[in-house]
Amino acid sequence: MKIGIPKDGRFGEFGGKYIPETLAPAIEELEKNYLKIRNDKNFKKELGRLLIDYAGRPTPIYFARNLTKTIGGAKIYLKREDLLHGGAHKINNTLGQALLAKRMGKKRIIAETGAGQHGVATAMACASLGLKAEIYMGYVDTLRQKQNVYRMELLGAKVHAVKSGSKTLKDAINEAMRDWITNVETTYYLLGSAVGPHPYPLMVRDFQAVIGVEIKKQMKKIPNAVIACVGGGSNAIGTFYPLIDTNARIIGIEAGGKGVKTKLHSAPLSAGKKGVLHGMMTYLMQDKDGQISETHSISAGLDYPGVGPEHAYLKDENRVEYKAVTDDEVIDAFLILTRTEGIIPALESAHAIAHAIKISKKMKKTESIVVTLSGRGDKDIDIVKEYLAKNVKNKRKI
């Protein structure tokens, strides 16, 4: 079930490379170069050094004593990716890919971003490695994640607000791909999630797998359950991949928005259908004609109608359970973690926390759950504030 290098770029039937012909040579070049450096000792050494000295790895595993006590079930541990430079797991991947780009002699880097975390991590990696970064971000997201826009600009990146389509992450990817088609010979596209045409899902998973590898080392024994949030699914696949061949129960949490039975969610694995978008075959939210649906999530980082092909595969193989939690549950979890542990999680990560709270109650006190806390929540405080102002029910908790 554990797939190393996917044959023909496919995880089972998922993945592939559905791309305009102009990109074919670039994808081929990328694949060739990536497979070469994948086992290159010098590359690994250089990246390993950067991850330690620059990004702040390894990140701790923290036993959330107070949270565990408050819920009263299994022990909840947090994998603290929120403590990384930039405040999220994204830097694991951007350092890897930016180093690769540099080796390939590409000096202009483009990237898409949803919440802005990948954009910030790209801008940081590029600043530190002397590369030029241009970031595409949906116009709606530039408004709800203003702080990250300014951070990217401070770091020397150019931010393009994308006003086509639904003006969110999906459209930012469309625009980045159009840029790549136009400037294919000079430009490296640094994709931020485990999505897109092969070899991106493989590459992003490899660079993020450091999360799961460290979890395995840091936990005395294999945890009973691991949980991570899934948008495109990069922190989740990084968490899950090294644990696939263990006994751990593995759970991915999608953005349930206002509920998966409404249309206002971003949960293609829970309520989508197979299709082709952004170069990959995977589960997608779409209508009867195959038009991609508009999505909703309180967290910009999960607001995406597709999901990485390896997740689609792991779902169909029944190795990973995929569930969704609603915006309301996310805000609850956000508040509970903040108050009990003094840790403000990103709204994306709060999805995983919300589900951990749900299942830990039903588990034994001797059992353990590891939750990947993929990012910190400073970027989200305005959204939470606004939400609480509108929802009196939750206000009591403050």
Partner: protein, 266 residues
């Protein structure tokens, strides 16, 4: 013999280059689409490429993106598209090509979609995000039904790959003129003309080579015709005319523009 092949055979006898004209179905309305089709036929277009909008058209520039969005907003569904095709078929035998994105077919399964398209009167398909590596099932279904599969090649497509693509192509081969999306206004590059020459050599006269993306003026048409293209494909320029023309004048204006372009192919 397919309508497309027959058309190219006829043009060859007349020593003419084909003018292929693209418009977006349902933009801004079904009525305007039918008017534009009549204008294209009246102006002498040889093959009509009808776009069916997709929510995420990554190979398209701003003009066709806008037309896609507007068409979807006006409520264009696949049923409407096939109904437009059937209406055109009642009036004309002109070869009709559908240009859309892979997911639209994948959603219904290739076989089911292609047989519906064939039944409506479509002769060939163009899917800009269908890479040759992923096309086995699609080509198989199209062959079974007798639908032409028009693949795209780019100026940077390498020789071996070009051969593979030509093998799976029927109707004509679509050469993308520029690095970029549809509708980019640009001068004609030397790399494009070199690539056209190489593509023609690889095609060995067995499959016509059409050139598109950024082809919009009489001068562009003339230049590509004299450089040996078997077809020139004009898209965004038509959309721009439709954008700026009231529906009751679409037919005449499109006919006038098309006639001018067609004159350069003779």
């Amino acid at each position: 013999m397919s309508r497309i092949k027959e058309k190219f055979n006829q043009l060859k006898l007349k020593k003419e280059t084909a003018l292929i004209s693209y418009i977006m179905a349902g933009y801004p309305s079904e009525k305007a689409t039918l008017a534009a089709v009549r204008g294209l036929i009246q102006g002498g277009s040889d093959i009509i490429e009808l776009g069916f909008p997709f929510s995420d058209p990554i190979a398209d520039g701003p003009t066709i993106q806008m037309a896609s969005t507007e068409s979807l907003n006006s409520g264009t569904k696949i049923e409407n598209f096939f109904s437009i095709v059937k209406k055109i078929r009642k009036e004309s035998n002109i070869p009709l090509v559908l240009m859309t994105y892979t997911n639209i077919l994948y959603n219904q399964t290739y076989l089911k979609f292609i047989s519906r398209a064939k039944q409506a009167g479509i002769d060939g398909l163009i899917l800009p995000d269908m890479a040759i590596e992923e096309s086995k099932e699609y080509v198989k279904a199209a062959k079974k039904i007798g639908m032409d599969t028009i693949f795209l090649v780019s100026p940077n497509t390498e020789k071996v790959r070009l051969k593979q693509i030509i093998k799976s192509t029927s109707g004509f081969l679509y050469m993308v003129a520029v690095f970029g999306t549809t509708g980019v206004q640009t001068k004609i590059h030397k790399y494009t003309l070199d690539a056209l020459k190489n593509t023609k050599i690889a095609a060995k006269g067995k499959i016509p080579v059409g050139i598109g993306f950024g082809v919009s003026t009489e001068r562009d048409v003339q230049k590509y015709v004299s450089s040996g293209a078997d077809a020139v494909i004009v898209g965004s320029a038509n959309i721009k005319i439709i954008e700026n023309t009231p529906t009751n004048k679409v037919q005449t204006r499109i006919a006038t523009f098309t006639k001018k372009l067609k004159n350069r192919t003779r």
